[in-house]
Assembly symmetry: C2
Homo-oligomer: 97 residues x 2
């Protein structure tokens, strides 16, 4: 997952897909890159569970997996300094009550 | 940042440092790895702003940067599907009011 997001092109693709599904050619447009290169990046994101694709006729459309980056967010959240996590819990407690 | 966290050894180091500061040799202990290899991993984490180190006498101690992974968390949070973000805001609104 972190590997999938360690590439600037792949992060740009995720940023675009956060707006909604898009075809390979739409996704390739902003990049000075061959279609196969973009398809390869999309493959990395798909294997990491960040995106899924669907083929209709000759057009393959990609979309973000709902909460596909949840594992990464959970990991980052869990492995912060203990005092910060405690402070967050306190803040939530104060807000909640 | 995502690159720094894309390696299992480096993530294990971050998990250990979330418990508190540690010396290079303490950090190297769980890994079947040479000290220089561990130091190299720590260098990647340090350049990414995830950890900092301090040398006292002959011992170099590493610690997590407070909220050093905030950028990654913010990015992941921002680039989820729009409906999920809206749902989160609604949940917060309902909890808050």
């Amino acid at each position: 997952m972190f590997h999938a997001l360690s590439d600037a092109t792949r992060r740009a693709v995720v940023e675009r897909l956060a707006q909604g599904p898009a075809s390979v050619s739409t996704l390739a447009e902003p990049f000075a890159m061959s279609l196969p290169a973009v398809v390869q990046h999309l493959g990395v994101l798909e294997r990491a569970g960040v995106v899924v694709s669907e083929k209709t006729g000759r057009v393959r459309t990609y979309r973000l997996v709902p909460d596909g980056t949840a594992d990464a967010r959970t990991w980052l959240d869990r492995h912060r300094l203990a005092p910060e996590r405690r402070l967050d819990r306190l803040t939530e407690h104060v807000r909640g009550g």
